[in-house]
Subunit: 261 residues, 2 copies
C-alpha cells in the first residue's frame, strides 16, 4: 500500500473499537475535519473489549474505502491497536500530531479502561509519545446522538494539537454522560472497583452449556469526589489521564519484604 | 457446570496465554501441586498478545479434561481474562488464594506487559484483590526447559500464599532469563520503550497485500539499573509489581493547564 500524502496541516489519525461502520467514528471524523487532515483506520467490525490485543497468529489486511483531499478512510481486519501499528508503519512517513479513538458507543469509565479497545489504541499512541485521546459516550445505542459532544471534542482536540508539553506516555480517557445538558468538565482519576460477572448460562440444542458475558460494575469508592464515576453520575464530562507505565514502584518495599528479597 | 469441590488446602488457579497444551502451563501446575489444590483453566489454543481482552460477541464454553483429588484441568474457548472470570463465577464458591499465569513461553518484560495475555490474567486477579503472579521464561521454544525455574516459582508462590499484607490491586510480572545459571533476583520497574513494527508485507496469490506483525523492542533507557530489561540482560530474574490503576494523577495539573480546565 502506498504511503498517505498529507498537507502541511495537522495530521490526525482516528480509530475506534466499534468498527468502521459505527456512527461515533463517522461523527468524530466530521467534527475534526476543520482541524487537520484526517486519516481513519478502523476495524472491519466490532472489537469491543479487545483491550491492547494485537494480532500475531493471522495476517492483517487493509482496504481503502474512501480517499479525498484531506480525508482517507481505511478498513482493517485487526484490533484497534493493530490499526494504530499499521498506520504508523505502513501508511505514514511521519508521526501524526494527534490520535483520537472513538467516539465509543458506551462508557469506558472506572476499571473498564483495562478492557477497552478504544483505550487500547490510546495507550498505543501514548507509548509513541503522540497526544492520544479516547472519547466515549455513555450510550450504547447504535444511533446515539453525538451532536452534544461536538464542541467539547473539538475544543479538547484543538488544545491537544496546540500543546507543546504533552506529558510523555500519557493518554486521555474522556467519558461523556448520556444527558441532554452537560454540567461541566472534571479532570479526575478512575474510580476503583471491579465487574461482577453474572454469566448468562444457557444450554444449546445438543445439551451443552455455554456462557454469555454480562456484568455489573461495582464501585469500591462511590463517595470519592475525585473519581470519574462520581462526576459522570452528576452529569459532568470526565477526563482521566492514563499512563502506559503500570510499574507500582511505591509497592517495591512491601513486596520485597513479603518475598524476602 | 458444577462447582469445584476443594479441600482445606490453599486453592491455586492457574491459566496462561499459550493454551492448555503448552509445556510451561503443565510444568507450573506440577511445580505447585505441593502447595495446594490446583485448578487449571486455560484457553484451547494460543492467545498471545491478547492483553486484557474479553469475549463479548460470542458465547464461551468450558470442558473438563482431567479431574483428580486436588487437581482439575479445564479448557475454554476464551482469552486468559475470560478464563479467570469464568473460574471466579462458574467454578468457585470462594476466591482462590493465589492466581498464577504462565509459565509463558517468551519474555513479557518492558512494555510487553501491555500486550501480554499472560499479564491480562494477572491484572484480572489483582482487580479482585487476589495475589496474582505472571511467570515468563525468555525462551519461545515449545520444548523449553522450565526445570531451572522450579525452585524460584515455588518459593515466590509459597511466600505469596503466606503473606497477609499483599498490596491491593497489584500483580507481579516475573521474567526469567534464558540462561543455565541464574545470577539472582531483582525487584524493579519495567523499562520504558516501544516496539518498532517492521511488518512483513507479502502478496497473496490473488495479488492482494497482507501483513505479518513482527517487531523489535526499543529500550528508551538501556542504562537504567532499576529496570527489568537491564537485569534480564545480566542474567537476573526480574519481578515488577504492576498496578491495575493506570490513572496518572501526577499529570493532572499539567493537563488541566493544557486543556484550560
Amino acid at each position: 500500500m502506498k504511503k498517505i500524502t498529507h498537507s502541511h496541516r495537522p495530521l490526525i489519525l482516528i480509530t475506534n473499537d466499534d468498527g468502521v461502520q459505527a456512527k461515533g467514528l463517522q461523527q468524530v471524523a466530521e467534527f475534526l475535519k476543520p482541524l487537520g487532515d484526517i486519516v481513519v483506520v478502523a476495524p472491519d467490525g466490532p472489537r469491543s473489549g479487545q483491550s491492547s490485543a494485537i494480532t500475531v497468529t493471522t495476517p492483517l489486511r487493509m482496504k481503502v474505502l474512501d480517499e479525498q483531499e484531506g480525508f482517507c478512510l481505511i478498513r482493517t481486519n485487526g484490533t484497534p491497536v493493530d490499526c494504530i501499528k499499521l498506520s504508523m508503519n505502513i501508511l505514514f512517513d511521519r508521526h501524526p500530531d494527534l490520535i483520537v479513538s472513538g467516539i465509543n458507543h458506551g462508557s469506558n469509565s472506572g476499571v473498564s479502561v483495562i478492557y477497552s479497545g478504544t483505550m487500547g489504541a490510546v495507550f498505543e499512541g501514548a507509548l509513541l509519545h503522540i497526544p492520544s485521546i479516547g472519547f466515549s459516550l455513555c450510550n450504547h445505542q447504535p444511533d446515539a446522538d453525538f451532536n452534544p459532544c461536538r464542541d467539547l471534542v473539538v475544543d479538547i482536540c484543538r488544545k491537544a494539537l496546540a500543546s507543546t508539553d504533552w506529558p510523555q506516555g500519557i493518554g486521555l480517557n474522556v467519558n461523556i454522560p448520556k444527558t441532554p445538558q452537560l454540567n461541566g468538565v472534571k479532570m479526575c482519576r478512575a474510580a476503583q472497583g471491579y465487574w461482577t460477572e453474572e454469566y448468562d448460562c444457557r444450554v444449546d440444542p445438543h445439551g451443552r452449556e455455554y456462557y454469555w458475558l454480562t456484568g455489573t460494575f461495582k464501585n469500591n469508592e462511590p463517595d470519592a469526589d475525585d473519581t470519574d464515576e462520581y462526576w459522570l453520575d452528576r452529569g459532568y464530562v470526565t477526563i482521566v489521564p492514563c499512563s502506559t507505565d503500570c510499574s507500582a514502584v511505591n509497592t517495591l518495599p512491601r513486596l520485597s519484604s513479603i518475598l524476602g528479597l
